[in-house]
Protein backbone atom coordinates (compact mmCIF):
# COMPACT_ATOMS: atom_id res chain seq x y z
CA UNK A 1 0.00 0.00 0.00
CA UNK A 2 2.70 2.41 1.08
CA UNK A 3 4.77 1.36 -1.91
CA UNK A 4 1.87 2.11 -4.21
CA UNK A 5 1.56 5.59 -2.75
CA UNK A 6 5.28 5.91 -3.19
CA UNK A 7 5.02 4.94 -6.85
CA UNK A 8 2.27 7.46 -7.43
CA UNK A 9 4.33 10.18 -5.77
CA UNK A 10 7.37 9.23 -7.81
CA UNK A 11 5.42 9.19 -11.04
CA UNK A 12 3.80 12.54 -10.41
CA UNK A 13 7.03 14.25 -9.43
CA UNK A 14 8.75 12.64 -12.39
CA UNK A 15 6.05 13.61 -14.82
CA UNK A 16 5.85 17.18 -13.64
CA UNK A 17 9.59 17.70 -13.54
CA UNK A 18 9.96 16.10 -16.93
CA UNK A 19 7.33 18.33 -18.47
CA UNK A 20 8.85 21.38 -16.87
CA UNK A 21 11.72 20.92 -19.25
CA UNK A 22 11.17 23.19 -22.22
CA UNK A 23 11.97 21.85 -25.64
CA UNK A 24 10.28 18.53 -25.90
CA UNK A 25 10.82 15.49 -28.06
CA UNK A 26 10.63 17.33 -31.34
CA UNK A 27 13.49 19.66 -30.62
CA UNK A 28 15.91 17.24 -32.22
CA UNK A 29 14.45 17.99 -35.64
CA UNK A 30 14.82 21.74 -35.30
CA UNK A 31 17.89 21.95 -37.46
CA UNK A 32 16.54 19.65 -40.14
CA UNK A 33 16.28 22.06 -43.07
CA UNK A 34 13.39 20.25 -44.72
CA UNK A 35 11.14 20.05 -41.72
CA UNK A 36 8.87 22.95 -41.00
CA UNK A 37 7.23 23.98 -37.79
CA UNK A 38 4.02 22.60 -39.28
CA UNK A 39 5.59 19.20 -39.46
CA UNK A 40 6.58 19.45 -35.86
CA UNK A 41 3.14 20.55 -34.72
CA UNK A 42 1.57 17.71 -36.69
CA UNK A 43 3.89 15.15 -35.16
CA UNK A 44 3.31 16.52 -31.68
CA UNK A 45 -0.41 16.09 -32.17
CA UNK A 46 0.07 12.57 -33.49
CA UNK A 47 2.07 11.77 -30.36
CA UNK A 48 -0.65 13.28 -28.19
CA UNK A 49 1.65 15.93 -26.82
CA UNK A 50 -0.82 18.71 -27.46
CA UNK A 51 -3.22 17.50 -24.80
CA UNK A 52 -3.32 19.07 -21.32
CA UNK A 53 -0.69 17.73 -18.98
CA UNK A 54 -3.07 16.02 -16.63
CA UNK A 55 -4.78 14.20 -19.48
CA UNK A 56 -1.40 12.98 -20.63
CA UNK A 57 -0.59 11.87 -17.11
CA UNK A 58 -3.85 10.03 -16.59
CA UNK A 59 -3.46 8.41 -19.97
CA UNK A 60 0.01 7.29 -19.08
CA UNK A 61 -1.03 6.15 -15.61
CA UNK A 62 -4.00 4.13 -16.82
CA UNK A 63 -1.78 2.48 -19.40
CA UNK A 64 0.70 1.75 -16.64
CA UNK A 65 -1.98 0.12 -14.53
CA UNK A 66 -2.73 -2.21 -17.41
CA UNK A 67 0.91 -3.06 -17.77
CA UNK A 68 1.41 -0.85 -20.81
CA UNK A 69 4.43 1.30 -20.23
CA UNK A 70 3.99 3.20 -23.46
CA UNK A 71 6.05 3.34 -26.60
CA UNK A 72 9.34 5.10 -27.01
CA UNK A 73 9.14 8.19 -29.21
CA UNK A 74 12.67 7.75 -30.34
CA UNK A 75 12.87 4.05 -30.83
CA UNK A 76 9.31 3.04 -31.66
CA UNK A 77 9.58 0.00 -29.42
CA UNK A 78 7.52 -0.57 -26.29
CA UNK A 79 9.22 1.04 -23.31
CA UNK A 80 9.64 -2.28 -21.53
CA UNK A 81 11.43 -3.71 -24.54
CA UNK A 82 13.67 -0.68 -24.73
CA UNK A 83 14.53 -0.85 -21.04
CA UNK A 84 14.85 -4.60 -21.19
CA UNK A 85 17.56 -4.32 -23.80
CA UNK A 86 19.66 -2.13 -21.56
CA UNK A 87 19.02 -3.77 -18.21
CA UNK A 88 21.47 -6.53 -18.80
CA UNK A 89 24.46 -4.26 -19.24
CA UNK A 90 23.62 -2.22 -16.17
CA UNK A 91 23.02 -5.27 -14.04
CA UNK A 92 26.32 -6.70 -15.17
CA UNK A 93 28.09 -3.51 -14.18
CA UNK A 94 26.22 -3.08 -10.91
CA UNK A 95 26.55 -6.72 -10.08
CA UNK A 96 30.27 -6.85 -10.52
CA UNK A 97 30.72 -3.55 -8.72
CA UNK A 98 28.62 -4.85 -5.85
CA UNK A 99 30.60 -8.05 -5.65
CA UNK A 100 33.82 -6.05 -5.51
CA UNK A 101 32.45 -3.50 -3.07
CA UNK A 102 30.85 -5.98 -0.73
CA UNK A 103 33.73 -8.36 -0.56
CA UNK A 104 36.47 -5.79 -0.18
CA UNK A 105 34.39 -3.35 1.85
CA UNK A 106 33.22 -5.98 4.30
CA UNK A 107 36.74 -7.22 4.81
CA UNK A 108 38.12 -3.74 5.35
CA UNK A 109 35.27 -2.88 7.70
CA UNK A 110 35.70 -5.95 9.86
CA UNK A 111 39.44 -5.61 10.00
CA UNK A 112 39.22 -1.92 10.76
CA UNK A 113 36.80 -2.54 13.61
CA UNK A 114 38.69 -5.44 15.14
CA UNK A 115 41.96 -3.60 14.82
CA UNK A 116 40.56 -0.27 15.81
CA UNK A 117 43.04 2.61 15.72
CA UNK A 118 45.68 0.40 14.15
CA UNK A 119 47.56 1.76 11.18
CA UNK A 120 45.40 -0.41 8.95
CA UNK A 121 42.30 1.20 10.39
CA UNK A 122 43.78 4.61 9.89
CA UNK A 123 44.76 4.01 6.29
CA UNK A 124 41.39 2.45 5.56
CA UNK A 125 39.54 5.36 7.10
CA UNK A 126 41.54 7.97 5.25
CA UNK A 127 41.32 5.96 2.05
CA UNK A 128 37.57 5.60 2.40
CA UNK A 129 37.10 9.30 3.01
CA UNK A 130 39.13 10.16 -0.03
CA UNK A 131 37.32 7.61 -2.15
CA UNK A 132 34.03 9.14 -1.05
CA UNK A 133 35.29 12.52 -2.13
CA UNK A 134 36.58 11.80 -5.60
CA UNK A 135 34.00 12.74 -8.19
CA UNK A 136 33.14 9.48 -9.91
CA UNK A 137 33.16 10.98 -13.38
CA UNK A 138 36.54 12.53 -12.77
CA UNK A 139 37.96 9.32 -11.42
CA UNK A 140 36.68 7.63 -14.55
CA UNK A 141 38.34 10.24 -16.76
CA UNK A 142 41.65 9.89 -14.97
CA UNK A 143 41.30 6.13 -15.19
CA UNK A 144 40.83 6.39 -18.94
CA UNK A 145 43.77 8.75 -19.21
CA UNK A 146 46.12 6.54 -17.27
CA UNK A 147 45.03 3.04 -18.16
CA UNK A 148 43.73 3.52 -21.67
CA UNK A 149 45.56 6.43 -23.19
CA UNK A 150 48.86 6.18 -21.36
CA UNK A 151 49.33 2.54 -20.51
CA UNK A 152 46.86 1.03 -22.94
CA UNK A 153 45.95 -1.72 -20.51
CA UNK A 154 42.21 -1.42 -20.73
CA UNK A 155 39.79 -0.29 -23.42
CA UNK A 156 38.40 3.21 -22.97
CA UNK A 157 34.79 2.19 -23.22
CA UNK A 158 32.06 -0.08 -24.54
CA UNK A 159 31.22 -3.54 -23.39
CA UNK A 160 33.03 -5.67 -25.92
CA UNK A 161 35.01 -5.50 -29.10
CA UNK A 162 32.91 -6.30 -32.12
CA UNK A 163 33.81 -9.68 -33.45
CA UNK A 164 35.15 -10.93 -30.16
CA UNK A 165 32.40 -12.35 -28.02
CA UNK A 166 34.70 -14.19 -25.61
CA UNK A 167 34.20 -13.91 -21.87
CA UNK A 168 37.72 -12.55 -21.55
CA UNK A 169 36.84 -9.70 -23.85
CA UNK A 170 33.82 -8.78 -21.74
CA UNK A 171 35.89 -9.02 -18.59
CA UNK A 172 38.56 -6.83 -20.06
CA UNK A 173 36.01 -4.14 -20.77
CA UNK A 174 34.28 -4.61 -17.45
CA UNK A 175 37.27 -4.11 -15.19
CA UNK A 176 37.70 -0.33 -15.31
CA UNK A 177 34.07 0.75 -15.07
CA UNK A 178 33.26 -1.70 -12.32
CA UNK A 179 36.31 -0.72 -10.30
CA UNK A 180 35.44 2.95 -10.70
CA UNK A 181 31.85 2.32 -9.70
CA UNK A 182 32.91 0.05 -6.87
CA UNK A 183 35.36 2.52 -5.37
CA UNK A 184 32.77 4.71 -3.71
CA UNK A 185 30.82 1.72 -2.60
CA UNK A 186 33.82 0.02 -1.10
CA UNK A 187 34.21 3.17 0.94
CA UNK A 188 30.57 3.34 1.97
CA UNK A 189 30.40 -0.33 2.65
CA UNK A 190 33.57 -0.45 4.70
CA UNK A 191 32.51 2.53 6.79
CA UNK A 192 29.15 1.03 7.57
CA UNK A 193 30.60 -2.40 8.14
CA UNK A 194 33.11 -0.95 10.52
CA UNK A 195 30.41 0.83 12.47
CA UNK A 196 28.15 -2.20 12.49
CA UNK A 197 31.01 -4.40 13.63
CA UNK A 198 31.90 -1.99 16.39
CA UNK A 199 28.27 -2.00 17.39
CA UNK A 200 28.18 -5.75 17.51
CA UNK A 201 31.53 -6.02 19.27
CA UNK A 202 30.32 -3.89 22.13
CA UNK A 203 27.30 -6.08 22.70
CA UNK A 204 27.03 -8.10 25.84
CA UNK A 205 26.75 -11.42 24.10
CA UNK A 206 30.20 -10.99 22.67
CA UNK A 207 31.50 -10.69 26.17
CA UNK A 208 29.51 -13.79 27.04
CA UNK A 209 31.06 -15.66 24.16
CA UNK A 210 34.52 -14.65 25.27
CA UNK A 211 33.71 -15.59 28.83
CA UNK A 212 32.76 -19.04 27.57
CA UNK A 213 36.24 -19.42 26.20
CA UNK A 214 35.19 -19.32 22.55
CA UNK A 215 38.30 -18.79 20.39
CA UNK A 216 38.68 -15.17 19.28
CA UNK A 217 38.42 -16.02 15.61
CA UNK A 218 35.13 -17.68 16.13
CA UNK A 219 33.92 -14.85 18.34
CA UNK A 220 34.53 -12.44 15.50
CA UNK A 221 33.33 -14.57 12.62
CA UNK A 222 30.31 -16.11 14.25
CA UNK A 223 29.09 -13.74 16.89
CA UNK A 224 30.27 -10.34 15.75
CA UNK A 225 30.12 -10.59 11.98
CA UNK A 226 26.91 -12.55 12.04
CA UNK A 227 25.16 -9.80 13.91
CA UNK A 228 26.92 -6.98 12.11
CA UNK A 229 25.77 -8.25 8.73
CA UNK A 230 22.12 -7.93 9.63
CA UNK A 231 21.95 -4.14 9.36
CA UNK A 232 24.15 -4.37 6.28
CA UNK A 233 21.47 -6.29 4.43
CA UNK A 234 19.08 -3.44 4.99
CA UNK A 235 21.79 -1.04 3.96
CA UNK A 236 22.23 -2.91 0.71
CA UNK A 237 18.58 -2.27 -0.06
CA UNK A 238 18.83 1.38 0.82
CA UNK A 239 22.03 1.81 -1.16
CA UNK A 240 20.49 0.62 -4.39
CA UNK A 241 19.36 3.98 -5.76
CA UNK A 242 22.78 5.44 -5.14
CA UNK A 243 24.39 2.45 -6.80
CA UNK A 244 22.09 3.01 -9.73
CA UNK A 245 22.99 6.68 -9.86
CA UNK A 246 26.64 5.74 -9.73
CA UNK A 247 26.08 3.29 -12.53
CA UNK A 248 24.46 6.01 -14.61
CA UNK A 249 27.46 8.27 -14.19
CA UNK A 250 29.94 5.49 -14.80
CA UNK A 251 28.10 4.36 -17.87
CA UNK A 252 28.31 7.84 -19.31
CA UNK A 253 32.02 8.05 -18.79
CA UNK A 254 32.74 4.60 -20.14
CA UNK A 255 30.06 4.59 -22.85
CA UNK A 256 28.60 1.48 -21.32
CA UNK A 257 25.42 0.52 -23.19
CA UNK A 258 23.23 0.28 -20.10
CA UNK A 259 20.31 2.08 -18.59
CA UNK A 260 22.45 5.07 -17.70
CA UNK A 261 23.23 5.78 -21.33
CA UNK A 262 19.64 5.11 -22.23
CA UNK A 263 18.54 7.48 -19.52
CA UNK A 264 20.79 10.31 -20.63
CA UNK A 265 19.93 9.77 -24.29
CA UNK A 266 16.22 9.63 -23.56
CA UNK A 267 16.40 12.70 -21.43
CA UNK A 268 18.37 14.40 -24.19
CA UNK A 269 15.68 13.57 -26.72
CA UNK A 270 12.88 14.19 -24.22
CA UNK A 271 11.69 10.69 -24.85
CA UNK A 272 9.13 10.96 -22.05
CA UNK A 273 7.79 7.42 -22.07
CA UNK A 274 11.25 5.94 -21.69
CA UNK A 275 12.35 8.39 -19.03
CA UNK A 276 9.16 7.78 -17.08
CA UNK A 277 9.63 4.08 -17.56
CA UNK A 278 13.16 4.27 -16.22
CA UNK A 279 12.03 6.30 -13.23
CA UNK A 280 9.31 3.82 -12.43
CA UNK A 281 11.71 1.00 -13.01
CA UNK A 282 14.20 2.42 -10.59
CA UNK A 283 11.52 3.17 -8.03
CA UNK A 284 10.18 -0.35 -8.33
CA UNK A 285 13.68 -1.71 -8.15
CA UNK A 286 14.27 0.29 -5.00
CA UNK A 287 11.06 -0.87 -3.42
CA UNK A 288 11.79 -4.41 -4.45
CA UNK A 289 15.32 -4.20 -3.11
CA UNK A 290 14.09 -2.93 0.23
CA UNK A 291 11.48 -5.63 0.26
CA UNK A 292 14.02 -8.32 -0.57
CA UNK A 293 16.31 -6.91 2.09
CA UNK A 294 13.49 -7.11 4.60
CA UNK A 295 12.72 -10.65 3.58
CA UNK A 296 16.35 -11.68 3.80
CA UNK A 297 16.70 -10.06 7.19
CA UNK A 298 13.57 -11.86 8.25
CA UNK A 299 14.97 -15.14 7.02
CA UNK A 300 18.27 -14.62 8.76
CA UNK A 301 16.99 -13.05 11.93
CA UNK A 302 15.00 -15.52 14.01
CA UNK A 303 13.48 -12.66 15.99
CA UNK A 304 11.59 -11.63 12.91
CA UNK A 305 11.29 -14.98 11.22
CA UNK A 306 9.58 -16.63 14.15
CA UNK A 307 7.78 -13.68 15.65
Amino acid sequence: MQSLVLLVIVSIIGFVVLNLIPGGPLAQYALDPGMTQDDRIRIAAQLGLDRPLWVQYLDWASGMLQGDWGTSFRDGNPVLTVIGRHVYATLLLMGSATVIAVSIGTWIGIRGATHRYSSFDYVATVGAMIALSIPTFWFGLIGIYVFSLRLGWFPAGNMYTIGDASVMNYLHHLIMPSVVLALVHIAIWSRFMRAATLDAISQEFVKTARAKGVPERRVIMKHVVGNALLPMITLAGVQLPSLLTGALVTETVFTWPGMGRLFLDSLGYSDYPVVMGLLMFSAILTIAANFVADVVVALVDPRIRLA
Binding site: L132, Y145, S242, L279, A283
Partner: protein
Protein backbone atom coordinates in the same frame (compact mmCIF):
# COMPACT_ATOMS: atom_id res chain seq x y z
CA UNK B 1 21.69 18.04 52.71
CA UNK B 2 23.63 18.33 49.58
CA UNK B 3 24.35 21.84 48.40
CA UNK B 4 26.39 22.69 45.39
CA UNK B 5 28.80 25.54 45.48
CA UNK B 6 28.06 27.82 42.61
CA UNK B 7 30.66 27.73 39.90
CA UNK B 8 30.79 29.95 36.87
CA UNK B 9 28.11 28.87 34.42
CA UNK B 10 29.57 26.81 31.63
CA UNK B 11 28.95 28.18 28.20
CA UNK B 12 28.65 24.75 26.63
CA UNK B 13 25.54 24.86 24.55
CA UNK B 14 25.67 22.52 21.61
CA UNK B 15 28.88 20.85 22.46
CA UNK B 16 29.56 19.46 25.74
CA UNK B 17 33.19 19.99 26.58
CA UNK B 18 34.06 16.39 26.14
CA UNK B 19 32.66 16.38 22.63
CA UNK B 20 34.65 19.43 21.69
CA UNK B 21 37.79 18.02 23.18
CA UNK B 22 37.33 14.76 21.35
CA UNK B 23 36.73 16.61 18.12
CA UNK B 24 39.78 18.77 18.59
CA UNK B 25 41.93 15.74 19.22
CA UNK B 26 40.81 14.07 15.99
CA UNK B 27 43.78 14.54 13.70
CA UNK B 28 41.90 13.98 10.48
CA UNK B 29 39.15 16.37 11.39
CA UNK B 30 41.71 19.00 12.31
CA UNK B 31 43.49 18.38 9.04
CA UNK B 32 40.18 18.86 7.24
CA UNK B 33 39.45 22.03 9.12
CA UNK B 34 42.90 23.37 8.33
CA UNK B 35 42.54 22.47 4.65
CA UNK B 36 39.18 24.17 4.38
CA UNK B 37 40.49 27.28 6.07
CA UNK B 38 43.48 27.28 3.80
CA UNK B 39 41.35 26.73 0.71
CA UNK B 40 38.94 29.46 1.67
CA UNK B 41 41.76 31.86 2.34
CA UNK B 42 43.48 31.11 -0.95
CA UNK B 43 40.25 31.50 -2.84
CA UNK B 44 39.60 34.80 -1.17
CA UNK B 45 43.05 36.34 -1.43
CA UNK B 46 44.63 34.22 -4.13
CA UNK B 47 43.21 36.09 -7.11
CA UNK B 48 44.72 39.35 -5.87
CA UNK B 49 48.18 37.85 -5.72
CA UNK B 50 48.23 36.48 -9.24
CA UNK B 51 49.29 38.52 -12.25
CA UNK B 52 46.39 37.24 -14.38
CA UNK B 53 42.69 37.81 -14.40
CA UNK B 54 40.58 34.68 -14.45
CA UNK B 55 38.67 35.89 -17.48
CA UNK B 56 41.54 37.22 -19.56
CA UNK B 57 41.69 35.36 -22.85
CA UNK B 58 45.02 35.10 -24.58
CA UNK B 59 44.98 32.66 -27.44
CA UNK B 60 48.76 32.79 -27.88
CA UNK B 61 49.24 31.33 -24.43
CA UNK B 62 46.71 28.53 -24.76
CA UNK B 63 47.58 25.11 -23.44
CA UNK B 64 50.64 26.26 -21.53
CA UNK B 65 51.57 23.46 -19.17
CA UNK B 66 51.94 24.23 -15.48
CA UNK B 67 54.96 26.30 -14.47
CA UNK B 68 55.13 28.16 -17.75
CA UNK B 69 56.25 31.64 -16.78
CA UNK B 70 53.87 33.07 -14.26
CA UNK B 71 51.18 30.58 -15.22
CA UNK B 72 51.92 28.41 -12.19
CA UNK B 73 49.20 25.94 -13.00
CA UNK B 74 49.27 26.43 -16.75
CA UNK B 75 46.54 27.78 -18.99
CA UNK B 76 43.32 26.50 -20.51
CA UNK B 77 42.30 26.25 -24.18
CA UNK B 78 41.64 29.98 -24.26
CA UNK B 79 44.96 30.82 -22.65
CA UNK B 80 43.38 31.85 -19.38
CA UNK B 81 45.42 31.35 -16.25
CA UNK B 82 44.29 28.18 -14.51
CA UNK B 83 45.46 29.26 -11.08
CA UNK B 84 43.40 32.43 -11.27
CA UNK B 85 40.42 30.49 -12.52
CA UNK B 86 40.86 27.81 -9.88
CA UNK B 87 40.63 30.32 -7.06
CA UNK B 88 37.70 32.20 -8.54
CA UNK B 89 36.04 28.86 -9.18
CA UNK B 90 36.71 27.91 -5.59
CA UNK B 91 34.73 30.89 -4.41
CA UNK B 92 31.77 29.86 -6.50
CA UNK B 93 31.96 26.17 -5.74
CA UNK B 94 32.44 26.65 -2.01
CA UNK B 95 29.67 29.23 -1.83
CA UNK B 96 27.30 27.05 -3.80
CA UNK B 97 28.21 24.13 -1.57
CA UNK B 98 27.68 26.09 1.62
CA UNK B 99 24.43 27.70 0.63
CA UNK B 100 23.05 24.50 -0.83
CA UNK B 101 23.89 22.88 2.47
CA UNK B 102 22.13 25.61 4.41
CA UNK B 103 19.01 25.33 2.31
CA UNK B 104 18.99 21.56 2.30
CA UNK B 105 19.57 21.43 6.02
CA UNK B 106 16.81 23.91 6.74
CA UNK B 107 14.31 22.14 4.56
CA UNK B 108 15.35 18.69 5.72
CA UNK B 109 15.26 19.71 9.35
CA UNK B 110 11.84 21.25 9.03
CA UNK B 111 10.39 18.20 7.32
CA UNK B 112 12.23 15.84 9.64
CA UNK B 113 11.13 17.55 12.83
CA UNK B 114 7.52 17.78 11.78
CA UNK B 115 7.40 14.23 10.49
CA UNK B 116 9.25 12.82 13.46
CA UNK B 117 7.22 14.62 16.05
CA UNK B 118 3.83 14.23 14.44
CA UNK B 119 3.80 10.54 13.65
CA UNK B 120 0.67 9.09 12.10
CA UNK B 121 -0.39 10.05 8.63
CA UNK B 122 1.59 13.29 8.60
CA UNK B 123 4.70 11.26 9.16
CA UNK B 124 3.66 8.68 6.59
CA UNK B 125 2.97 11.30 3.94
CA UNK B 126 6.13 13.29 4.55
CA UNK B 127 8.39 10.30 4.80
CA UNK B 128 6.93 8.63 1.71
CA UNK B 129 7.62 11.87 -0.13
CA UNK B 130 11.16 11.73 1.14
CA UNK B 131 11.40 8.12 -0.03
CA UNK B 132 9.95 9.18 -3.34
CA UNK B 133 12.62 11.77 -3.85
CA UNK B 134 15.24 9.34 -2.69
CA UNK B 135 14.22 6.63 -5.07
CA UNK B 136 14.97 8.86 -8.04
CA UNK B 137 18.47 8.56 -9.28
CA UNK B 138 19.89 11.85 -8.00
CA UNK B 139 21.13 12.84 -11.39
CA UNK B 140 17.67 12.64 -12.87
CA UNK B 141 16.32 15.28 -10.54
CA UNK B 142 19.49 17.25 -10.86
CA UNK B 143 19.64 17.19 -14.63
CA UNK B 144 15.93 17.61 -15.14
CA UNK B 145 15.78 20.55 -12.80
CA UNK B 146 18.94 22.08 -14.17
CA UNK B 147 17.50 21.75 -17.63
CA UNK B 148 14.10 23.05 -16.64
CA UNK B 149 15.31 26.10 -14.77
CA UNK B 150 17.70 28.64 -16.20
CA UNK B 151 21.11 27.99 -14.75
CA UNK B 152 22.55 30.67 -12.49
CA UNK B 153 24.59 30.21 -9.34
CA UNK B 154 21.50 30.82 -7.23
CA UNK B 155 19.38 28.37 -9.21
CA UNK B 156 22.11 25.77 -9.07
CA UNK B 157 22.24 26.20 -5.32
CA UNK B 158 18.51 25.72 -5.04
CA UNK B 159 18.54 22.73 -7.32
CA UNK B 160 21.29 21.03 -5.39
CA UNK B 161 19.49 21.77 -2.16
CA UNK B 162 16.31 20.28 -3.61
CA UNK B 163 18.12 17.04 -4.32
CA UNK B 164 19.95 16.92 -1.02
CA UNK B 165 17.44 17.61 1.73
CA UNK B 166 16.06 14.09 1.98
CA UNK B 167 19.01 12.59 3.78
CA UNK B 168 18.86 15.32 6.38
CA UNK B 169 15.13 14.83 6.74
CA UNK B 170 15.62 11.13 7.33
CA UNK B 171 18.30 11.62 9.91
CA UNK B 172 16.38 14.30 11.73
CA UNK B 173 13.17 12.33 11.60
CA UNK B 174 14.78 9.28 13.17
CA UNK B 175 16.47 11.42 15.78
CA UNK B 176 13.31 13.32 16.65
CA UNK B 177 11.27 10.16 16.74
CA UNK B 178 13.59 8.73 19.34
CA UNK B 179 13.94 12.02 21.20
CA UNK B 180 10.25 12.54 21.52
CA UNK B 181 10.00 9.42 23.67
CA UNK B 182 12.61 10.81 26.00
CA UNK B 183 11.36 11.82 29.37
CA UNK B 184 12.31 15.46 29.06
CA UNK B 185 9.88 15.79 26.19
CA UNK B 186 7.17 14.18 28.28
CA UNK B 187 8.17 16.64 30.94
CA UNK B 188 7.64 19.46 28.47
CA UNK B 189 4.16 18.18 27.75
CA UNK B 190 3.53 17.81 31.42
CA UNK B 191 4.41 21.47 31.86
CA UNK B 192 1.83 22.29 29.25
CA UNK B 193 4.21 23.66 26.61
CA UNK B 194 2.91 24.17 23.07
CA UNK B 195 3.70 21.73 20.26
CA UNK B 196 5.87 24.15 18.34
CA UNK B 197 7.75 25.02 21.49
CA UNK B 198 8.42 21.36 22.18
CA UNK B 199 9.43 20.62 18.59
CA UNK B 200 11.76 23.50 18.00
CA UNK B 201 12.92 24.60 21.42
CA UNK B 202 13.04 21.36 23.36
CA UNK B 203 13.75 18.66 20.77
CA UNK B 204 15.58 20.43 17.99
CA UNK B 205 18.58 21.61 20.05
CA UNK B 206 19.10 18.02 21.09
CA UNK B 207 19.18 16.88 17.50
CA UNK B 208 21.79 19.47 16.58
CA UNK B 209 24.63 16.98 16.71
CA UNK B 210 23.40 14.72 13.94
CA UNK B 211 22.16 17.74 12.01
CA UNK B 212 25.60 19.32 12.07
CA UNK B 213 27.16 16.08 10.95
CA UNK B 214 24.64 15.72 8.16
CA UNK B 215 25.19 19.34 7.19
CA UNK B 216 28.94 18.91 6.89
CA UNK B 217 28.50 15.87 4.74
CA UNK B 218 25.91 17.73 2.70
CA UNK B 219 28.45 20.43 1.87
CA UNK B 220 30.71 17.72 0.57
CA UNK B 221 27.94 16.24 -1.49
CA UNK B 222 26.82 19.61 -2.77
CA UNK B 223 30.30 20.43 -4.03
CA UNK B 224 30.39 17.10 -5.83
CA UNK B 225 26.98 17.62 -7.35
CA UNK B 226 27.80 21.13 -8.50
CA UNK B 227 30.92 19.77 -10.09
CA UNK B 228 28.98 17.07 -11.84
CA UNK B 229 26.27 19.21 -13.36
CA UNK B 230 28.72 21.93 -14.29
CA UNK B 231 30.90 19.27 -15.83
CA UNK B 232 27.97 18.22 -17.95
CA UNK B 233 27.51 21.86 -18.89
CA UNK B 234 24.17 22.33 -17.13
CA UNK B 235 25.55 24.16 -14.13
CA UNK B 236 27.51 27.33 -13.70
CA UNK B 237 27.78 29.00 -17.11
CA UNK B 238 31.03 30.19 -18.65
CA UNK B 239 32.93 32.43 -18.44
CA UNK B 240 32.27 32.30 -14.70
CA UNK B 241 34.52 29.47 -13.56
CA UNK B 242 33.54 26.72 -11.18
CA UNK B 243 35.55 23.64 -10.38
CA UNK B 244 33.00 21.60 -12.25
CA UNK B 245 32.86 23.61 -15.44
CA UNK B 246 36.62 23.82 -15.53
CA UNK B 247 36.45 20.08 -16.05
CA UNK B 248 33.88 20.52 -18.77
CA UNK B 249 35.59 19.71 -22.02
CA UNK B 250 38.75 18.69 -20.22
CA UNK B 251 38.30 15.10 -21.28
CA UNK B 252 38.86 16.20 -24.87
CA UNK B 253 42.36 17.18 -23.91
CA UNK B 254 43.17 14.27 -21.65
CA UNK B 255 45.88 13.12 -23.96
CA UNK B 256 47.37 16.48 -24.82
CA UNK B 257 46.73 18.64 -21.77
CA UNK B 258 45.95 16.36 -18.84
CA UNK B 259 46.45 19.14 -16.30
CA UNK B 260 43.15 20.61 -17.41
CA UNK B 261 41.43 17.62 -15.85
CA UNK B 262 43.82 16.89 -13.04
CA UNK B 263 44.00 20.29 -11.35
CA UNK B 264 40.31 21.09 -10.83
CA UNK B 265 39.58 17.46 -10.04
CA UNK B 266 42.21 17.51 -7.35
CA UNK B 267 40.78 20.72 -5.93
CA UNK B 268 37.33 19.16 -5.70
CA UNK B 269 38.70 16.05 -4.11
CA UNK B 270 40.66 17.99 -1.53
CA UNK B 271 37.74 20.22 -0.60
CA UNK B 272 35.29 17.37 -0.39
CA UNK B 273 37.67 15.14 1.53
CA UNK B 274 38.22 17.92 4.02
CA UNK B 275 34.52 18.36 4.62
CA UNK B 276 34.11 14.63 4.93
CA UNK B 277 36.93 14.49 7.46
CA UNK B 278 35.28 17.20 9.50
CA UNK B 279 31.89 15.52 9.30
CA UNK B 280 33.33 12.18 10.27
CA UNK B 281 35.26 13.74 13.12
CA UNK B 282 32.11 15.41 14.40
CA UNK B 283 30.23 12.18 14.16
CA UNK B 284 32.88 10.36 16.14
CA UNK B 285 33.03 13.12 18.69
CA UNK B 286 29.27 13.12 19.17
CA UNK B 287 29.01 9.37 19.34
CA UNK B 288 28.54 8.58 23.01
CA UNK B 289 29.22 4.96 22.29
CA UNK B 290 32.88 5.82 22.09
CA UNK B 291 32.80 6.35 25.84
CA UNK B 292 32.08 2.79 26.73
CA UNK B 293 34.15 0.84 24.31
Amino acid sequence: MNTITATRPTQARWFQNRVLRRFLSNKLAMFGLAMITLLTLTCVIGPYLLPYDSLFVDLRARFSPPLTGYHYLGTDPLGRDIAARLFMAGRISLLVGLFAMLLATLLGTLVGVIAGYSGGWVNALLMRTVDGFLSFPTIFLLLALAVALKPSPIMITIIIALTGWMEVARIVEAEVRSLKEREFVLAGRMLGLGQAHIMFREILPNAMGPIIVAATLTVARAILLEAYISFLGYGIQPPLPSWGNMLNGAQQYLATAPWLAIIPGAAITIAVTSFNFIGDGLRDALDVRNDNL
